[in-house]
């Protein structure tokens, strides 16, 4: 590996770390709260949902970045970005679901019913939007910007899976706990989420 590449790799890894811990998509940016609360009550379903969301986030980032810079910007219609991303994500989810339905019954069984829900998950749209909103800074090449976008997508995905997994583990334990009656269910889940958000606040500053 050449020494010229080292700063890029360090920046790439730091961007992943930041997206995962310091700038967590759920606990810091508050995206994807609906699936976090709705599906995060059982570990198995939470992990399935996390993996499905991660897959769509990475794939849509991979597709939407070139669409923005090679189609929308040259045609002078960058104002169409949000509408384009929504339709791309929705189509992508359908196509991925189609392939899973057709070729992998096991995968369909584990996250088949969660896949259509991802279309309405704002975490996916939020990541794709933030990838292009930052723009290309002075002196940065297109390739480097694309790399950072992908690092953001990977970091966000890892952060989503990590947080939803921890949350589901805590909620499974809380089901058996002798918590006061008014706190049972969603109330204790929200308290847990708040405490988790405070815990993740302690990680701010990593990667900066």
């Amino acid at each position: 590996m050449s020494t010229a590449m080292t700063p890029y790799i360090v920046t790439f890894l730091l961007a992943i770390l930041t997206g995962t811990l310091a700038d967590n998509v759920i606990l810091s940016r508050f995206y994807g709260i609906c699936s976090f609360i709705g599906v995060g009550n059982k570990v198995k379903s939470a992990v399935s949902m996390g993996v499905a969301v991660s897959f769509v986030i990475i794939l849509s980032s991979l597709i939407c970045w070139p669409i923005y810079y090679f189609i929308l910007t040259p045609l002078n219609i960058p104002f169409m970005d949000t509408l384009t991303y929504i339709l791309v994500i929705a189509s992508l989810v359908q196509v991925v679901g189609l392939f899973i339905k057709k070729y992998s019954p096991t995968l369909y069984k584990s996250f088949g019913i969660y896949l259509p829900l991802i279309t309405t998950n704002c975490a996916v749209l939020g990541v794709v939007q933030s990838n292009t909103d930052t723009g290309i800074s002075l002196g940065q090449s297109m390739g480097a910007n694309f790399g950072m976008s992908m690092a953001n997508a990977i970091g966000t995905s890892l952060g989503f899976v990590l947080v939803i997994f921890i949350f589901a583990c805590i909620r499974e334990r809380l089901e058996d706990a002798d918590s006061p009656k008014p706190f049972r269910g969603v109330a204790i889940a929200l308290v847990t989420a708040a405490i988790m958000a405070m815990a993740f606040m302690g990680l701010m500053g990593i990667g900066s």
């Binding site: 169409m80 196509v95 189609l98 019954p105």
Partner: protein, 85 residues
């Protein structure tokens, strides 16, 4: 580039993307689900008949609901112990 051309291109992009979405949606709906996955989802009726307690879709996941019914009430246990003392 004239302004009207921008709007035409924007509408064209939208139409193309909508067409892709509609085609993928129709294909997804037309594809039959794999065998055994026809009625995936939580329902009291299906889950109570199902023996697969390890299934994450099952309402009686890991038999937790059944466990709760026979769960000892800790407060009463404590009271009994205190009474014995």
């Amino acid at each position: 580039m004239p302004l009207w051309l921008n709007w035409v291109l924007a509408i064209l992009t939208l139409v193309i993307l909508l067409t892709i979405f509609i085609v993928s949606f129709v294909l997804y709906k037309k594809t039959p689900p794999p065998k055994g996955c026809e009625h995936l989802g939580q329902s009291e009726e299906n889950c109570s008949k199902c023996d697969q307690h390890g299934c994450h879709l099952n309402l009686y996941y890991n038999g937790k609901k059944d466990e709760k019914k026979t769960e000892p009430v800790f407060d009463k246990d404590l009271e009994n112990k205190e009474n014995k003392k």
